[in-house]
Subunit: 324 residues, 2 copies
């Protein structure tokens, strides 16, 4: 879609999904997301608690914040309405608002329908792999064959040359579509009949399911494996047996404050399987203030629950790319 | 401004301030605001805690919520950047977002620059006066000669025939402008040299200042007076001596939960001047579940701190009025 000549938002940029998708390839997102995590872990970001609105037919989350000294503050509204598919609508929706940090003047309304959340989550997975995966990736394993499972694999292209993947998903009917789609993107994909098959041949694993019971167990894990868990973003979801975190040489959080309350680290802490002092933040590994993987035989786990700095970075970058 | 023929927001309505101001006269706002307060006090509204983002040069508040069974949920972003006037910009800004409550689909972005907050606050003042003021209003007293002090007087037209006002303001240079502007709107306005003069001749009083020290004291108050305090919306602001609330026959809150934490009731509770059990909610007076003023000789005080139901109601009404 071409940008309309005159916008009714006056100096406020209003962008629809098509226009946002159009500018995304022009954005160098990984360095931006890395810088966001580093700023967060260095205490340069103001990220208040997530706002939550629970309605009859859905849930709305409001993530917002700013990085000190940058141009913008950003507010993201992301909703999930689980009856939408029956109405012919996607369950997710929302938008991102960009404001001038020095004056509060609105700069942009990005009507992204939740798309930028999918992208910044996949980009964070690539960043986690870049800093934590073993030097030689033999095969990439993906649990979850939905939108996020596809984007994660797609974005790993930017940080590894491996194009060999094994996918398992809780919805078997998605698997063949996953294989075909990712083949068209340059991957050779096999499908697995059980999640437990993944760690047998894969040493870079991403889990991207809404599972509430562990999919992977410690017994199946080989030395030299990295796992990025992106599916669990609530206190009750869990994709990894907590024993995996106990066995891991390095346990990485995107936000320790948030991982205390939700996700895999939350579960492992609650089960007494790990001590909080063992958890390092991804931003500190990026900035060199903490070590991640130090040998190819280590097991590493990154738990990504999603932090507003990712939204700040992607929304700011999209707005800049949209500007005439 | 005429509505553009085609909006880049697709089915999302994008409205600028001029268009919003244009449709406001078509909206019957007071019944909507009354219904909002009633819904809130009956527990039919979901109103999570206010989100707050504190930045170097300003503050951002996010108020949001929904009334069960209605069409929309609403998110309001309201900011105050106190260095803006030096840059030739108003300190306040923000916008209101309207979403379908059943699906989460965005319906409207109202780029109101904070204007609808001013209006819904003035409308709430009129509602408080409608339910609490004595039958015969001798003279209206206003403390605060800024935008809100003007709007409060203007909106009282809808609930009283009195057109006689006395105004005092902390910025003396605003007073003459206030007198002239409100004269053009049908009021005979005198200016006072001190706030204490107001209760001597006025029995319907509105305070709309950012004061941190009490402007009115109990000793000056006559029986049969109603005071609406709208200025104090933080834990540290205070316009009324807490003794006034102690002496009042009826103490009204827009939201008891919120007035516990900020505003005049917060101060009076903290000073041990009133007991929480004495506070009634405006919504319960409106719906008849609680009594407000029961005689013309009573002293009544309404403390309005601003509740998201007002934002929900005004945004929904503006969106409906904007629809083709």
């Amino acid at each position: 879609m071409a940008a309309p000549a005159a916008l009714p938002g006056g100096s406020v940029k209003i962008a629809l999904l098509a226009e946002i998708k159009n500018v995304l390839p022009r954005i160098d997102l990984l360095p931006a997301i890395e810088e966001g995590f580093a700023a967060y872990s260095e205490g340069r970001a103001v990220v208040p608690p997530v706002g939550e609105l629970i309605l009859d037919k859905g849930e709305v989350h409001i993530k917002y914040g700013a990085i000190a000294g940058e141009d913008f503050y950003v507010i993201k509204i992301a909703s999930g309405f689980y009856g939408n598919p029956a109405l012919g609508l996607p369950s997710g929706n929302g938008c991102l608002l960009v404001f001038e940090q020095k004056t509060g003047v609105p700069a942009a309304v990005l009507l992204d329908e939740g798309y930028l959340t999918d992208i910044r989550t996949a980009a964070a997975g690539a960043v986690a792999a870049k800093y934590c995966a073993p030097r030689t990736v033999e095969r990439i394993g993906v649990a979850g064959a939905g939108v996020q499972g596809r984007l994660q694999l797609e974005w790993l292209k930017r940080v590894t040359d491996c194009r060999d993947a094994l996918v398992w998903g809780p919805l078997p009917e998605e698997l063949e579509g996953y294989r075909r789609e990712m083949k068209s993107r340059g991957f050779s994909v096999e499908t697995a009949r059980e999640a437990a098959a993944i760690p047998r041949t894969c040493n870079l694993i991403v889990t991207a399911t809404p599972s509430k019971t562990p999919l992977l167990s410690a017994a199946d894990l080989r030395p030299g494996t990295h796992i990025t868990a992106v599916g669990s973003d609530t206190p009750d979801k869990q994709e990894l047996d907590s024993e995996i975190l106990a066995r891991a040489d390095v346990v990485v959080a995107d936000s320790l404050a948030q991982c205390r309350l939700r996700g895999e680290i939350h579960k492992a802490l609650a089960a007494g399987k790990i001590d909080e002092s063992r958890v390092v933040e991804l931003g500190n590994i990026i900035s060199g203030r903490a070590s991640g993987r130090t040998s190819d035989s280590q097991i590493t786990v990154a738990d990504l629950t999603g932090v507003a700095v990712q939204d700040i970075k992607i929304a700011s970058a999209v707005y800049r790319a949209l500007a005439p």
